[in-house]
């Protein structure tokens, strides 16, 4: 069945082919191969793949279903936090047990818990384990939470919002408020997730302390590539066929679809929730590569940037989202990383660290006004495929 589905969607096949090729090239260039690509660049590419995944999810919910959600980065963050809690707990447990091993009297279970709590929360001036860390000792449970928490949150939020027929820009503002509320909540030290500091040292994977980061980063790169591939196929499948038609119809005229007898709310809720879950999975893969997660990551602006990537890449085409996310985020790090040469004008020198955001902002206006189909539209034009 998958076969026939892929046959019907050649673009998906091309994408998977390109992704595999890309993975092989990166492997060959990295330390595992000829070693011209640094570990930190492999990490950057792995992270970019995760961003591509959430961009694809965003494209489905916005480009296909017409819901401009400014809250998907919140789900991304929740995924990161959920996996980060286990990473911190397990790493600290290892350290604490080592330290107790050198003492004559064996520790009581309570002493071990207290010591772990003190290590994790001592940094933020506390030592108690908050309730939300109840499952942090189990990788399986935390991975389950990666999916469950954003899923339930999206389901609840979506159910409330779609039920009350909150649509269009109102929904955008509401999702943005949700993101802001979550970020503010996490900023509080009392939230139990270490406030502004967030969870750090996530690149040290418990059980693999002696594995060099070059290997770990490559492993995460593969995992991210796999996730992007699977996510792409999943969403290609959802957006094609009958269901895809209904979703696109909702975007174009919600009332008409409702009058035709479809339960619009269920479709929207489904799309909203599944994209939230995929966003969370992307986050869970992203933050162990970034090494640290904190509330600033979830700030409303991040979700808006997500929309920017998708718009620049071209809405309503999945590869457009991938192109947009990869293009803008890599370009952004090239410009702000001092990679772009400064332009001396004699009386003034244009430093790209200062002017990149101005350029991005204006180019975004230009894309919205003059090229609503984004880079993906250009791509379509080149392969002469009318969209």
């Amino acid at each position: 069945m998958t076969n026939s589905f892929l046959m019907r969607n050649p673009s998906t096949l091309w994408f998977l082919l390109g992704l595999s090729l890309f993975t092989i090239v990166v492997t060959a260039l990295s330390d595992a191969g000829v070693g011209v690509m640094s570990t930190s660049f492999v990490k950057t590419l792995g992270k970019t793949l995760c961003l591509c995944l959430i961009a694809v999810a965003m494209d489905v919910v916005w480009g296909y279903c017409g819901i401009l959600s400014l809250g998907h980065f919140a789900f991304f963050g929740i995924g990161g936090y959920a996996v980060g809690m286990w990473l911190m707990y397990a790493r600290t447990e290892g350290i604490v047990l080592d330290s107790f091993a050198s003492q004559t009297i064996p520790p009581t279970p309570q002493e071990v818990t207290d010591a772990i709590g003190n290590q994790i929360f001592g940094v933020v001036g506390s030592s108690e384990f908050p309730m939300i860390w109840a499952f942090s000792d189990s990788l399986i449970l935390q991975l389950l939470l990666v999916v469950l928490v954003p899923g339930v949150l999206a389901l609840l939020f979506g159910w409330l919002a779609f039920r009350s027929r909150v649509t269009g820009v109102y929904l955008s503002i509401l999702t943005q408020a949700m993101t802001l509320a979550l970020a503010l909540y996490l900023f509080q030290n009392d939230s139990g997730l270490r406030g502004n500091n967030g969870l750090s040292g996530l690149q040290n994977i418990p059980g693999f302390e002696d594995t060099p980061q070059s290997t770990i980063s490559l492993a995460f790169f593969y995992a991210s590539a796999l996730a992007v591939g699977l996510g792409y196929v999943l969403f290609a499948w959802i957006t094609s066929g009958k269901m895809g038609s209904v979703i696109k119809a909702i975007r174009d005229n919600e009332s008409r679809v409702r009058f035709l007898g479809y339960h619009v709310e269920s479709y929207k809720l489904f799309v909203f929730t599944i994209t939230a879950v995929v966003a969370a999975i992307a986050g869970a893969l992203y933050y162990p590569q970034a090494g640290i997660i904190n509330p600033a990551e979830i700030a409303p602006i991040a979700s808006i940037y997500l929309a920017v990537w998708v718009a620049i890449g071209g809405r309503g085409r999945l590869y457009g989202a991938v192109i947009g996310a990869a293009f803008v985020s890599l370009l952004s790090s090239w410009f702000t990383g001092g990679g772009a040469p400064a332009i001396p004008l004699g009386f003034y020198t244009i430093q790209w660290t200062d002017w990149w955001l101005v350029l991005l902002g204006l180019s975004f206006v230009a894309v919205t006004l003059y090229a609503p189909k984004g880079i993906g539209g250009l791509f379509d034009y080149l392969v002469r495929k009318p969209s």
Binding site: G125, Q188, G195, N197, G198, G291, I292
Partner: protein, 428 residues
Amino acid sequence: MTYKKTLGASALAALLASTSIAAADCDEPIKVGVLHSLSGSMAISETTLKDAMLMLIEQQNAAGGLLGCEIEAVVVDPASDWPLFAEKARELLTVSEVDVIFGNWTSVSRKSVLPVIEELNGLLFYPVQYEGEESSRNVFYTGAAPNQQAIPATDYFLEELGVEKFALLGTDYVYPRTTNNILEAYLIDNGIAEEDIFVNYTPFGHSDWATIVADVVALGEDGKQVGVISTINGDANIGFYKELAAASVSADDIPVVAFSVGEEELSGLDTSNLVGHLAAWNYFQSAEGDANTGFIEAWKAFAGEERVTNDPMEAHYIGFNMWVNAVEAAGTTDVDAVRDAMYGQEFPNLTGGTAVMLPNHHLAKPVLIGEIQADGQFDIISQTAEVPGDAWTDFLPESAVLKSDWQELGCGMYNVETESCVQLTSNY
């Protein structure tokens, strides 16, 4: 003990190796990484430090460089984005292959970088006051630990101003939280009742201060002298001080001492209503002395006439010069050798006296308390002798038993009760 031995052996090996390299003349400059945000919310503070580093490196090159080589600054922009700090640190150490990094501002950026530099055995000089409770083999903390800023300021409140009731106001993040925890414990030790300590946390950039100022004024209702200890960060200070002035809270009635307000922050304010309120630092631009006058002149010539100097700049000044001396003493830029040579390094402070690098990677520095003046500068009214920085505070029960000594014990988190090393990596 075996650990120390291997350390010594490796240092020796590195020493031998490096002398041969030095003899072979240097075809590559010595690289110094500068990891300060040049964009984003922290750029306001960190750009100054980047400029200060460039000035120090320029001065050192003019004075003949280091080990006969040029020093080259590698400047990167982590853009106030904490994960990006880790990424850029890795880039500096593996791609640019720098010998040392000067950088970071805020604890969270440091915690982001820690795992990377410990993994790759880098060397970081962190120039800003921080909350302590950390000790990394790979970091030298040239800013103030709580016992070099918060505790002396609190002593000043207790002793000199006779404050009996405290309002601890802070921005909600790790530095104020931890500092206030330490101060609460310290105040209770000093006979201040728990109900006489009012604690409040506000978000970054908070602007609605009327209620909080009213709450602070109302603290005086039991006839006790009230004082405010402020760990409010950045822009939020502007609204806070404006509200203080509007409520006519004079420094004579309710003194405010701030730990994050320096010359830079005051430039966004009309200070005529704030005269007499206090700040505690290890350095003020108004400090008198030839070294400071020379430093200010050099800075103004380098960066511009209107620029001010501040405490973290002095920290970089001391840190960089100590590193230069340590490299010269070790004869190599190898991290382990330089680290060994760092212990006991002495360098004159800009405020007078001598800073000494201690085995716990902190400096011994004097503590200054200044009163805000109408011109936006500080009038120094109290200066202590050099206070040795303490990584683990003595006033919290969990950390009172901990000690950091990388020179003798080779451990940054040594439990003196159980006489064992809790962990070799730092806690992040």
